[in-house]
Amino acid sequence: MASINNHVQWLEEQLKRWASSGIIQDSQARTIRGLYPAQQAARPWALIVFSGIGSVIIGLGVILLFAYNWDDMSKVAKLGTIFSALIISHIIGISLFLKSERFEKMGESLTILGTMLFGAGIWLIAQIYHIEEHFPTAFFIWGLGALALAWTMPSIAQAIVAAILFTVWVMTEAISFDTSIPYALVFILLLFPLAYKQRSSLLLGVLLLAMAISTIFVAVHTAESATFHSLLGLLVLYVSIGLIHQKFSKFENFAPVYFFIGLAGYFLTIFLLSFPELNREVLKDTKMFPNISVVLYWLIPLVLAIAGWIAVSKDLIKKTKFKCYSHDLLLLPLVLIFFCCYSLMPAKIFYWPVTAIFNLVFLAHTGMLMAKGCKEVKPAMAMAGALLLAALTFARFTDLFESLATRGVIFIVVGIILFSQGFFYIRTKKRIKEQAL
């Protein structure tokens, strides 16, 4: 919305200049202006961001303030403070939220403060009564409080807080207690419909990250050898959902979110698997069928990802134009299938024969990003391709070429490729400009 407003503002300024310079008549200026939508009222983003962050920081401050645990402050005073602060912030917050649209965001921020105080209260009561129970459960209860408010209000900020808390819950269970909480993913999934209902790309991005991080921590404990399979399946699924979303104008703005998080995670995973030692470590003792839960960990993301790609395959065959698409993306489901099938093989060949495949796949994506970035004059894409190529070159510096002469030649070749990319990018940009004129 901000971007459209900027364009409309620019157009209005230009029309005034042209009219005052006599290039066009006032009536013509009005006609041109009428072709474009009116400026939409901007949402108070500064208020939302600053008051939201402020609420979170105040909440953390309260937690730390009570963490000091004054001997001089009685139990009743401590409990009274936390209960009254929680009740007051919720009463004022909810009243403002329901009063009018003008105060809605301010009210939402105060309810965020209330949720932070709810969390502070859990820790404070544990402190007062010296409770040392299973502490990750506190993050879960805290998250449930935020989840319930996120849906009833509805509130994107509460949903983001809930997603972060559920992720911290999964992480602390895995790190501190070596336990896996698979059903934690359900609580994160419960927030997805809210992201769609509210059309919030920000919430969607947070949820996709929360799902990916939680999947790692859930899988790493119970299905250690299938962690990469689960993650890769999930990321390939994200990209396929991104493609599907491009077919529906209603959720078109969600496609880049799925693409960015899916592809960033996918590139990182493939990059890690391009290291022979890590690749061997991941694949050497892969037990894909030790029990039903491990099978579900890698099979569910695999089936969903493949289903997602089958769903878009019809459009790809029909050569339907997608805004975000390049042919190298077809490698994603193929890599996933190869990775899972290879893990199922009874005897495996390690080191370079299999690692080379991941290196070549990574190189193919890199080349495609660089080429597409140059062809379509997309600097971010061209830059991403160049950075990934440089990363791969440095990664292989130590483990592929022992001879300094070979290393030197490789660096020179990669350098020439990057220079050529820069040259082609500038030439294409110039040509497009000339054509436009």
Binding site: N69, I94, W123, Y129, I131, E132, T152
Partner: protein
């Protein structure tokens, strides 16, 4: 409708906190006060400030004290268990046994199995009372504990215990008596030094005179194999379970506040020998396996067995355990 839903959800947040606090407050008001021996470990928590981590004597449970399903190797990490306690004459509570069945009556704390290896008893249990929160800066003082001339004065945590096994920490106190030991070694080949004897010290850390039982050659103490290591201790003291001799007035020693009592235990005296299965009794001197560790426990005769003594009212009837020691060092 939406308005009421939001209000209900916000009220639920308040209710969750009220339930947390209320459940504990009920235990504080109506629960029975007990004391548990502990050793403080280390402080600090990011969200909750300073706290002292507590390691209770009842946290590590040897296999011999497991009952019901636990005795049948049905022990799993995170499993709910109940530690049944008894209060001794010194006012501290001791573990009778741990079971997976909730006792219908009596003194018990609920906990969860924290760490369990089916091949290596003992099991570790968390009771949810392992953290003692204090004002920032004060945790370190408690962690350092009270120690004087190598004598450790045991820390005893005050708890309120509800009928459902929920325990709430209320405070702490120090035992009126402290104990310290120094093992004496004989220099030997290749730096290995078998222990020959143990110098035992007891300190009256209270502000009142205390009478202790002083039998010759340290025989007011008993030798207990330590069963809280990674592997079960196979040794048993030869005088295990044999009742102490009748105490006479001359066996009592009055310790004034701050006074230290010293005695010496000769490990080559056959009274202190240990045995394992059908093996001949032997001295613990030279036993070098880290798992074969022992402790000396001061446990005077019960109150009713001391009624005939002139200063019976001054006798402290609690128990004191020394730190563990092995039969050799390097």
């Amino acid at each position: 409708m939406r308005k009421w839903l939001i209000i209900i959800v916000a009220a639920l947040q308040v209710a969750v906190l009220a339930q947390m606090a209320g459940q504990r407050e009920l235990v504080v008001r109506n629960g029975k006060t007990i004391y548990l021996r502990t050793a403080p470990v280390d402080p600090r928590d990011m969200f909750r400030g300073d706290y002292v981590r507590l390691n209770y004597e009842i946290s590590s449970v040897p296999k011999s004290l497991l009952r019901d399903g636990l005795a049948e190797n049905k022990c799993k990490q995170g499993m709910r268990v109940y530690a049944v306690l008894d209060v001794n004459e010194g006012g501290t509570s001791q573990l009778l046994y741990v079971t997976d069945k909730k006792p219908k009556e009596g003194l018990f704390i609920r906990g969860r199995v924290d760490d369990h290896d089916t091949t290596n008893p003992p099991i570790q249990i968390r009771y949810g009372i392992e953290a003692y929160f204090m004002q920032q800066g004060k945790g370190k003082q408690l962690e350092q504990g009270r120690r004087q001339e190598g004598i450790q004065i045991p820390l005893e945590m005050e708890l309120k215990l509800g009928t459902n096994g929920i325990a709430v920490l209320r405070g702490h106190r120090y035992s009126p008596l402290g104990i310290g030991i120094e093992t004496e070694h004989k220099s030997s080949e290749k730096g290995r030094q078998p222990a020959t004897g143990i110098k035992v010290k007891m300190l009256n850390a209270s502000d009142k005179p205390i009478a202790i039982v002083d039998l010759p050659q340290g025989r007011s103490f008993v030798l207990e194999p330590d069963s809280t290591r990674f592997r079960a201790n196979k040794w048993e003291w030869v005088n295990q379970g044999i009742p102490q001799k009748r105490i006479e007035n001359g066996d009592l020693r009055i310790l004034q506040p701050g006074e230290i009592y010293e005695t010496y235990i000769d490990l080559n005296d056959s009274y202190w020998f240990v045995k394992s299965g059908s093996q001949n009794p032997r001295t613990i001197s030279g036993l070098e396996d880290w798992n074969d560790s022992f402790r000396l426990v001061y446990r005077p005769a019960p109150k009713e067995a001391c009624g005939h003594l002139e200063k019976a009212e001054l006798i402290w009837h609690g128990y004191l355990s020394s730190r563990t020691f092995t039969g050799a060092s390097w």
